[in-house]
Symmetry: C4
Subunit: 263 residues, 4 copies
C-alpha cells in the first residue's frame, strides 16, 4: 500500500517503547494550523503524516522506567496522542491501587490518574518529535474534572510542586496552563517545568502546543470514561450482580441502614 505524504514525522532518538502505531497517519483536519475548510473544486491540499517509527522514548536517565504504567500484571498500554507542528501530546491513564483487608475485601489505596506527555518538535518544516526533551504532567481525577468543564473561553492553571528522592534534593515545579487559542479553534497547552537543585540556579523548560476543540472533546470523553476506573468504581460496579445482592435485606438487616427513605 502506498501513501501520499507531505509531512513525515521524524524522531531524534531511537525509542525503546512503541506507543504510536508505526503506520499511523493523521488526516488534514487534525492539524490545527492548516486551513480547516476549503472548497472541493479547488486543489486539495490534504497532507497525511506518516510517522515512521514514532516511538516515545522514556527519560534517558531512567531507561528502565516503563513509560506506560508498565506493571508485571498489566497487559495493555493505551493512550491518546495529539500531533501538532509544535509538538506532540500523549495522554496515558494510570491505574489505581488497591489493598486487601483482613476480611478479604479490597479498598482503593491510591487513586489512578492520567499522565500528559509533551514532546517538542524540533523540525523546521516537518514535525520531528524529540523524546529526549519530553516533559510530563500528571492530572488527578479532580484536575480532570477541571479540564472537562473548561469552556471555550476559559483558562486554567494547574500547579504541582514535587521533590524527588531526598538524595537528589531537586525541587521540581510544574505549571500547566490551558488558554484559549486566539483563533478560537481550541486551547493552548503550555507546560513550564522548573528543576532547581539545592543551592543552585533552577533550569526552566517550556513547551507549548495547541489542542483543537475536537481533540479536547476526545480528551473529555476519555476522561469521563476512565474516571470511574481510576477511582475503582468499575470494580464496585462489576460486583453488582443479582446473585450476589439478592435478598440481602432479610439476612443482613443492618445493611442499608443509611438509606434514609427505607428505614
Amino acid at each position: 500500500m502506498s501513501q501520499i505524504q507531505s509531512i513525515t514525522l521524524k524522531h531524534l532518538s531511537l525509542p525503546t517503547h512503541t506507543f504510536v502505531p508505526s503506520k499511523f497517519k493523521i488526516p488534514l483536519n487534525r492539524n490545527f494550523s492548516l486551513t480547516p475548510r476549503f472548497t472541493f473544486s479547488s486543489s486539495l491540499s490534504v497532507k497525511c503524516y506518516h510517522p515512521n517509527l514514532v516511538q516515545p522514548k522514556p527519560f534517558p536517565p531512567l531507561p528502565q522506567r516503563p513509560p506506560f504504567a508498565e506493571l508485571p500484571q498489566q497487559r495493555v498500554y493505551v493512550g491518546y496522542s495529539v500531533y501538532t507542528k509544535k509538538g506532540m501530546l500523549t495522554v496515558i491513564p494510570r491505574p489505581p491501587e488497591f489493598e486487601s483487608k483482613s476480611s478479604g475485601a479490597f479498598k482503593v489505596s491510591k487513586e489512578g490518574y492520567v499522565v500528559l506527555q509533551f514532546a517538542p518538535s524540533v523540525g523546521a518544516d516537518e514535525p520531528i518529535y524529540d523524546w529526549n526533551h519530553k516533559q510530563t504532567f500528571s492530572l488527578s481525577v479532580s484536575e480532570m474534572g477541571t479540564l472537562i468543564i473548561l469552556g471555550a473561553r476559559d483558562s486554567w492553571e494547574f500547579s504541582h510542586e514535587t521533590v524527588k528522592l531526598k538524595s537528589s534534593k531537586i525541587d521540581v515545579r510544574k505549571v500547566l496552563k490551558v488558554e484559549p487559542l486566539l483563533d478560537a479553534t481550541g486551547h493552548l497547552f503550555s507546560l513550564r517545568v522548573l528543576k532547581k537543585p539545592a543551592n543552585m540556579e533552577g533550569i526552566q523548560k517550556s513547551i507549548f502546543l495547541p489542542v483543537t476543540r475536537a481533540d479536547l472533546e476526545v480528551l473529555r470523553s476519555l476522561f469521563n470514561y476512565i474516571m470511574p476506573y481510576l477511582l475503582g468504581w468499575n470494580a464496585f460496579g462489576n460486583s453488582i450482580k443479582p446473585e450476589v445482592y439478592s435478598q440481602v435485606n432479610s439476612t443482613n438487616p443492618r445493611y442499608g441502614a443509611d438509606n434514609e427513605w427505607n428505614r
Copy 2:
C-alpha cells in the same frame, strides 16, 4: 520518597475502617480557598495535604455497622473524597438489591443510592477531620439527577425525614442545601441534621463545606456512571449477548409484542 507538606490532616479519633488512602496527597488546586492562579515566576505556594492515617470511623454507637456497604459478598470499597479546610465530603455508592423469582429470574427489589459523608474540620490552621461528628445524607437516583442538572447559579434543597427503630423513637430530619458560592468557584454544601427524641428538645447539627466546580463535575461523571448500576441496568445490559438473544422471535412469538413499529 520525600514530600513537601505544609498541611497535614489529622484525626481526632482512631478509625477502624480505612477509606482514604494513607498516602493520599492533594495538589494545590483541589483546595478551593487557595488562589487558583498565580504566575510561575513568583514563589510557588503549593501546599500538599498528607493525610496521615485518614480513616473514616463509623458512628460510635454502631461500631459494628460497616461504613462502606460492607456485605459478606462485597469485596470492593470505593468512594470519592473532596478535601477542604472546612471539612471533608466523601461520596460512597451503595448497591441495589435483587430478589429472585420462582422462574429463576431476578428483579430489582431496592434501588441503590449514594451516601454523602460529611466530616467537619476542627483544626485551626490545618484541616483536622473529626469523624466522631460525621453526618451523612443519602441521595436517591432521582436526587442524583437533580445534582447533575444543577446549573452554576442554581440552588437546591434536599429534605429527608426519617424515624429510626421504634424503640429509639427519635425523629431525624435532614436538610441538604446546595448553593452557589459567592465567588462562583463552585457550590456550598450545607447539611443540617435535627435529631429529636420524643417529648424532648431536638439537637441540631450543621456542617458546611464548599465543593469546587471541578469536583462537582467529577461527582456528575460518577453519578452518570453509577446510576445504571444502582438501578440494575448493568445486569440487564450484561445479559444482552448474541447467543442469548438470537432468533428469539421465532421461538417466542410473544416477545416484543409492545414494539410498536414491528407488529
Copy 3:
C-alpha cells in the same frame, strides 16, 4: 423498622408481577407538586410514599404476557419509575435480537427499545395506581435521541400507528406529547391512545403525568447508557480484546481497507 408515612399508594388490582420494590419509599423532593424548598426551622412537611404491594399488572386480556421483557434466557428485570399524584411512569428496556450467520458470527436482526408504561392514579387524596388501565408507548433508539436533546422549553410529539393481529382488525394509534410544564419544573408527558375496531367508533384514552427535570435527566442518563446495548454495540465492544485483534493486519491484509488514512 418504622416509617412515617403520610401518603400510601394503593392499587385497584392485584398484580401478578412485582416490579416496584415492596418497601420502596420516595422522599419529598421526588414529588413535583410539593414545595421544593422550605426552611429547616419550619415544620417539615415531608411525606413519604409507601407503596404497599405496588405491583404492575400486565394487561388482563394477556395475563401470560410478561411485562418486563421476560424471556426464558433473560434473568434480570429492570426499569425506572417516576411516581406522581397523576400517575406513574415506568421505563423498561427491551433487548435487541441477534441472528447467527453461516460463518458463526452474529449480527443484530432487530434493535432494542424502551417501553414507557403509564398507569393513571385514581386516588383522590393519595395516588392509587390503576394497572388495569395502563397504557404503553415504545421508544426507538432514534426517539430516545429526541428526548435526550429536548430542551427545557422544547416540545415534541411522537406518533405511532400500529395494527394488531389481522384477526383483531383493530387500529391502534398512539401519540405521546412531551411539553414543558408551566412552572418550568419539568415536562408533561401526555399519552393518547385511540383504539378503533373496524367499522366501529374508536375509543380514546388519555393519561397525563408530569416528569421533573431531575427525573428527565435520569432518563437521559439511562438512555445514553442503554442505547449502545440496544444496538448491540456492547457485544461489539466486548469483542475488542488485544488477544483477538492482535497482528490482524499481517494475517488478513484485507482488513481495514476502508481506513482512509492507512492505505
Copy 4:
C-alpha cells in the same frame, strides 16, 4: 402479525450481507421530511417503512471484502442506520489492532474508527436504496470529536485524500461536508468522492442526505461510547482489578513515579 405500510424500501441489488434487520420499521418521526407535529384529532399520516431484505452489499469490485469489519475472530456486526428519502446512512465501528510485546503485554498498534456508508435512494415516491452506488467515508477518533461538538448552527468539512494500491494508480479524494439544514431540524451530510485514474479525467460522485438532530444525538452517544474502545482504553479499564493492582507499590517501587502528588 400484520403491519400498515405506506413506504416499502426496495433495493436494486441482491445483497450478500444482511445488516438492517429484515423486519425493521421506522416510525414517522424518524423521517425528517414529514411534518413532525400534528394534532391527534386529525387523520394520522403515520407511514412505516418495511425494508424487506434491506441488505447492504459490498462494493461489486471487491465482493470478497467484508462490509462490517468481518474478521475470523469477530463475531458481532453492529451499526446504526439513518433512513431518509434521499438515502441511507449507516455508521459502523471498526476495532483497533493490538500487537504483543516480548514482555507478553499488548499495546494498540492501530486505532479503531467508524465507517459512514452512504447509499443513495433511486426511488421516485419511495426510498429505494442502491447499494451498487454506495460511498464510504471513515472517521478517525479525532474526527468523531469534531462531530460531537458540532453545534446546531455549525458546519464542518472533513477531507481525505487516499491512494489505493500502486497497481491501480487511482487517486481518491473524499470530502464530507456537514451543514445545518435550512429548517434547523438537523444537518445535511454531503459526501463527494472524486476518483481519478492516472492521466485520466476524474469521476466525481456525490450523495446528500439529511440527518435529524435526534439521530445526530444518537451518533454522539454512540461515538462517546465507542471511542474508548477504538483506542483500546476498555482493555486497559478491564485490566483494573483489585487483585491485580493490589499492593503494587511495595513490590514495584518504580510504579507511579510520575504521580506528582505522591512522591
